[in-house]
Every structure is written in structure tokens, then in C-alpha cells.
């Protein structure tokens, strides 16, 4: 792995860690997608992490590396979209880049757990009132 990939992985793991702690306000627009809207100054970004199941017989690790497998496996798509001009700034798929699978898997599970952490906190506050 080169330096750029290491740096990218580092940022992805930081997002995963913050997600797990419930510090990132993920929402769930559909059962397999988590979304985080981040506003910073004049910029506004929509971050999404989506999970999909690759059906059997279609396991692909890039255009020229297609292998057949009997088990279903999850693939992740991490995207950052500029909210104003609707342009996709970042699009990372574990299907095309298997080396980032673990980072995206951690972000997805972090978002799931983080939502639980935030829900627990809200419920706690409700009961404390």
C-alpha cells in the first residue's frame, strides 16, 4: 500500500471510529444506506455509505479479476457528494478496491452502532426530563 492509500485508510478509520462513538450524525434513508450531511462554512457535503450483497457467481475484484464463489459477500460504496452542485467528490467501492473493504466495513458498522448510541442518548434524555 502506498502513502496516499495509507492516508486515505487513516481518514476512513477515523470516520469509522467517530461513527462508532456516535459523534457523526448518520441517518438511514433506506435499510442498506447511511447518510451524513456535513455543513462546513459555505460547503455542504452529503456522505453516504451503502452496503450491497454481491450475488453468487459474480465476485469481481476489478475488471479483469472475476472469480466464481458460492457464498454471498457484502460490497460497500462510500460516496461524498457536493450538496450544491450535486457533483460526486469521492466514490470508493470495495468491489473495485478490495484493500479498503475493512475500512468501509468498519464505517458501515460504526454508523449502525453510532445510531444506536445516539438513540440511547436521546431515550436517556427523554427519561431524565
Amino acid at each position: 500500500m502506498n502513502n496516499e492509500t495509507n492516508e486515505l485508510m487513516d481518514y476512513l478509520f477515523r470516520i469509522a471510529k467517530k461513527s462508532l462513538a456516535g459523534e457523526i450524525p448518520w441517518s438511514q434513508p433506506n435499510p442498506s444506506t447511511f447518510q451524513w450531511i456535513q455543513n462546513s462554512g459555505s460547503d455542504s457535503f452529503i456522505v453516504t455509505i451503502q452496503k450491497a450483497d454481491a450475488p453468487r457467481g459474480l465476485r469481481s475484484k476489478g475488471l479483469l479479476d472475476i472469480s466464481f464463489d458460492s457464498k454471498e459477500e457484502s460490497v460497500y460504496l462510500f460516496q461524498v457528494q457536493d450538496r450544491l452542485n450535486k457533483q460526486t467528490a469521492i466514490s470508493l467501492s470495495s468491489k473495485e478496491r478490495p484493500e479498503i473493504f475493512s475500512a468501509l466495513d468498519k464505517i458501515y458498522h460504526g454508523a449502525e452502532k453510532g445510531m444506536d448510541v445516539r438513540a440511547t442518548s436521546v431515550l436517556k434524555r427523554l427519561l431524565d426530563i
Partner: protein, 179 residues
């Protein structure tokens, strides 16, 4: 008939030549045998023609199904990157209904049992995958390729299985034509 007449008749029978030595008998026999031979041959050919017509009917039916399967596979291969949930749902419902109708008569056919089962499982898998991206709020700003990413693999898998069934149908057509 008295005794004298019977004697006369016996004498006449003994004096005349046996029937099989007569030319007319053999002509009649040959004509009779030829008639039987041609009748049996005609029966066999009629039976063969009936079987061939039945097989030809089956071949035409299989070719019609193959054409329809080709059209479905082509539709699946031209999936739009910005596919919406409702478009994907309508496409899946349509191809699921058509494919299940087309493969229904062949589900018990020995060489098609597994491909038909795989195809039905793939259709169910695609339906489950689509449920995973069912929007909960129409106002959510999701990336345009969300539905494509969730379903493309499943549609591609269905297309591959349809191609496999088409190949098996084509093999059957070739086998019928070779006979």
C-alpha cells in the same frame, strides 16, 4: 349328391394341377404382398411424419421462447446508471413475471431443473436487494447510483442465468433438427 357324382368330383380334383402351379395365383399373391408391404411402409412414414410435425411444433415454440428470453437479457444488460427505485421495481416485476411464465413448462425437464431453480433464486435475491434500498423518505438526497449499485449485480446474475437457459434451449433445437 350321390356316390357317382362324388367320385367324379374327386377324380376331377385329382386330375387338375395344384392351384400354386397356376400363373394367376402367383400374380395375385405378388400383388397382395406388395399391397401389404406398401401399406405397412405408408403407416410407418405417416407415424414418422406425425412425430416430425410434433417435434417441429416444439422447436418453433422453443425458438419463440428463446427470442423472448433474448429480449429480456438485452433489457437487463442496458441498465441505467441513474436508475430510480420505481424504475427498478417495475423492471424487476416485469422480467420476473415474464421469466417465470416462460420457464414454468420446463421446470421438471431434467437438464433444466437446476438452471430454472437458480433463476428463480436469483429473481428472489434481486427482490430482496431492492427492498434494501426502498426509500423511507422521498425527500432524501441520495446519490443517483444508489439503486444501480444495489441491484446491478443481481440483474447481471439474472442475465447470465437467462443466457444459460437460452443455450440449453438452443441445444435442444439442434438435437431435434439433427434427427
Amino acid at each position: 349328391m350321390n356316390e357317382e357324382e362324388i367320385e367324379k368330383l374327386v377324380r376331377a380334383l385329382n386330375d387338375s394341377a395344384p392351384f400354386y402351379t397356376q400363373f394367376e395365383f402367383w400374380i395375385a399373391t405378388v400383388i397382395g404382398a406388395a399391397s401389404v408391404y406398401f401399406s405397412v411402409k405408408a403407416f410407418k412414414e405417416a407415424r414418422e411424419a406425425k412425430r416430425a410435425a410434433f417435434e417441429a411444433g416444439k422447436t418453433v415454440k422453443i425458438q419463440t421462447i428463446t427470442i423472448e428470453l433474448t429480449e429480456i437479457a438485452q433489457r437487463l444488460d442496458k441498465l441505467d446508471f441513474n436508475l430510480s427505485f420505481s424504475e427498478a421495481r417495475d423492471l424487476l416485476n416485469e422480467i420476473s413475471r415474464r421469466l417465470r411464465r416462460l420457464i414454468a413448462p420446463f421446470q421438471e425437464t431434467p437438464d433444466l431443473v437446476t438452471p430454472c431453480l437458480n433463476l428463480k433464486n436469483a429473481l428472489d435475491g434481486a427482490k430482496d436487494a431492492l427492498e434494501e434500498v426502498r426509500p423511507q423518505n422521498p425527500e432524501d438526497e441520495l446519490p443517483p447510483n444508489t439503486i444501480y449499485f444495489a441491484t446491478q449485480g443481481h440483474f447481471s446474475n439474472i442475465s447470465g442465468l437467462v443466457a444459460e437457459i437460452m443455450g440449453l434451449f438452443e441445444k435442444r433445437t439442434i438435437e431435434v433438427n439433427e434427427k
